[in-house]
């Protein structure tokens, strides 16, 4: 496959690339949603995707764990590698890929079962049966998700009885329980209380030594606070596909962005 020319600087300034994306185009049927996306996402770092509504952030995120495969009529061109291996290559099991590349959504979506069972769900599916082993995995995942202290005495209660912010951290624990390499977070804090936002931001900082994190956020301050690198996407004209405009160290994006369009967006001049 060929790589289309790119305008944005695409090399990660951080260490090793976890995801390498080259010349990616994406279509929903006739609708061309993304074009020419080339980017290296750094391993064990937090990368923020920002841009106006409809610029394809969620679409791109779903390309990274092949969730778009589940939407009929979609088509992808270009190449995405995870640790050097093509994730759309033959012999790749999308279910296994989605375990390695977990996803958190805007609306927390715990299963209608107990807190414990929510977190144990994945490990059980992968064949962990022993009670002590499961207990250990569940506890560790809840600790990493910054929720353990709040739920350790109510593990049998329904996940849906928790507050929204706690539910979101429960979903994070559920993903972490299957030991993912990458966490994709699509506006994970848009629907939760400030205390939980703080806890999610804290856990991201703690997790990033072992997990690569990509977060989509509409909150510029959040992007500035939590991420190491920031990618700005923009659909310049209605009906045309969105592009990656600029990708750089977060501190640089928020002090001296190179592209006028990035500057206009983050300073609130449009969007």
């Amino acid at each position: 496959m060929t790589t289309t020319p790119v305008t944005a600087q695409t090399d990660s300034t951080e260490g090793v690339a976890k995801f390498s994306v080259r010349g990616l185009d994406f279509y929903y049927g006739d609708f061309h949603a993304l074009t020419g996306i080339t980017i290296d996402v750094a391993e064990n770092a937090v990368t923020a995707f920002i841009g106006p509504s409809g610029c394809g952030k969620s679409t791109f995120l779903r390309c990274l764990n092949r969730m778009n495969d589940l939407i009929p009529g979609t088509r992808i061109e270009g190449r995405i590698t995870l640790d050097g291996a093509d994730i759309y290559g033959p012999g790749v099991d999308p279910v296994d890929l989605r375990r390695r590349v977990g996803m958190i959504f805007q609306q927390p979506n715990p299963f209608p079962m107990s807190i414990y069972d929510n977190v144990a769900f994945g490990p059980r599916l992968h064949g962990v049966k022993k009670k002590e082993e499961l207990d250990g995995i569940v506890e560790q995942a809840l600790v990493r998700a910054n929720l353990w202290k709040e739920v350790k005495d109510i593990m049998g209660r329904g996940g849906l009885t928790l507050s929204g912010g706690q539910q979101q951290r429960l979903c994070i624990a559920r993903v972490l329980a299957v030991q993912p390499d990458v966490l994709l977070m699509d506006e994970p804090c848009s629907a939760i209380d400030p205390t939980s936002v703080q806890k999610v931001e804290d856990l991201m900082a703690e997790l990033k030594s072992s997990v690569t994190i990509i977060i989509v956020t509409h909150n510029m301050q959040q992007a500035a606070r939590v991420s190491d690198e920031t990618a700005f996407f923009l659909q310049e004209r209605q009906g045309e596909p969105a592009e990656l405009i600029e990708f750089a160290r977060t501190a640089e994006i928020f002090t001296s962005p190179h592209d006028r369009r990035t500057e206009d967006y983050i300073t609130g001049r449009f969007g």
Partner: protein, 227 residues
């Protein structure tokens, strides 16, 4: 669009420009007071500095509040950050003008050699050219003009050195006391221009996002009695 925020940024910048005008007026009056021996004018400069201090302090507060509540980024952040620095430079320039005015108090009783007056007058004129250019570069974000400031500053440093040499020719005890006040004033004038050059460097960062120190081929060699 964040209308109120945009307007506040504009207003803060306009206030710094206004403060700049006040500073130019103060340093011009201070120089005139010195060469004319006009003590009343010197007192007016000293009084004006209270106003300047109040305004620079208020501006600092206003800038901080905007940073705290509006989370400026990118060029807005660079603007506010640079304005805060420029504000401090303005405040110091005002202090230097006051120092010159105080030298007027000490020297007005006597008249020294014509050559020294001519040198101070010439230096003052050059300093005001630098200040006017600085303010214009700042108001219009004119980088080309900002880059010229360093060059315009060079002869001022030369005049200070020449002043110093002239001074060493003086013999009489009493005249030396008078002359050392004058040479300090010359030094203050030179420092005022240095601040203007520093503001030029800030402007470059404000506009481009690149930190850049202007060429220091004629920079400070000696001690700095006031900064």
């Amino acid at each position: 669009m964040r209308e109120n925020y945009r307007n506040e940024l504009k207003a803060i910048k306009a206030e710094v420009v206004d403060i700049g005008r006040l500073v130019i007026e103060m340093s011009r009056d201070a120089t005139v007071s010195l060469v004319e021996g006009d003590v009343d004018l010197a007192e007016r400069v000293i009084t004006a500095d209270d106003d300047l201090d109040t305004r620079t302090l208020a501006l600092e507060e206003r800038t901080l509040e905007t940073i705290a509540t509006q989370f400026p980024v990118a060029r807005d952040l660079r603007l506010l950050y640079s304005l805060a620095h420029i504000n401090i430079h303005m405040e110091r320039m005002g202090d230097l003008a006051v120092n010159i005015a105080k030298a007027t108090r000490r020297t007005a009783e006597r008249t020294g050699p014509r050559t020294l007056y001519d040198l101070i007058r010439a230096q003052g004129n050059l300093v005001h050219r630098v200040l006017e250019a600085m303010l214009e570069a700042f108001e219009t974000s004119d980088l080309e003009l900002a880059y010229k400031l360093e060059e315009m500053d060079e002869p001022i440093d030369h005049l200070f050195k020449q002043f110093f040499r002239e001074l060493s020719r003086l013999q009489e005890e009493e005249e030396i006391e008078w002359a050392s006040s004058m040479v300090l004033a010359s030094r203050y004038l030179e420092r005022i221009a240095d601040h203007a050059v520093d503001i030029g460097e800030r402007l470059v960062y404000m506009v481009t996002g690149e930190f850049e120190a202007f060429d220091e081929s004629f920079g400070d060699e000696g001690e700095s009695p006031a900064s």
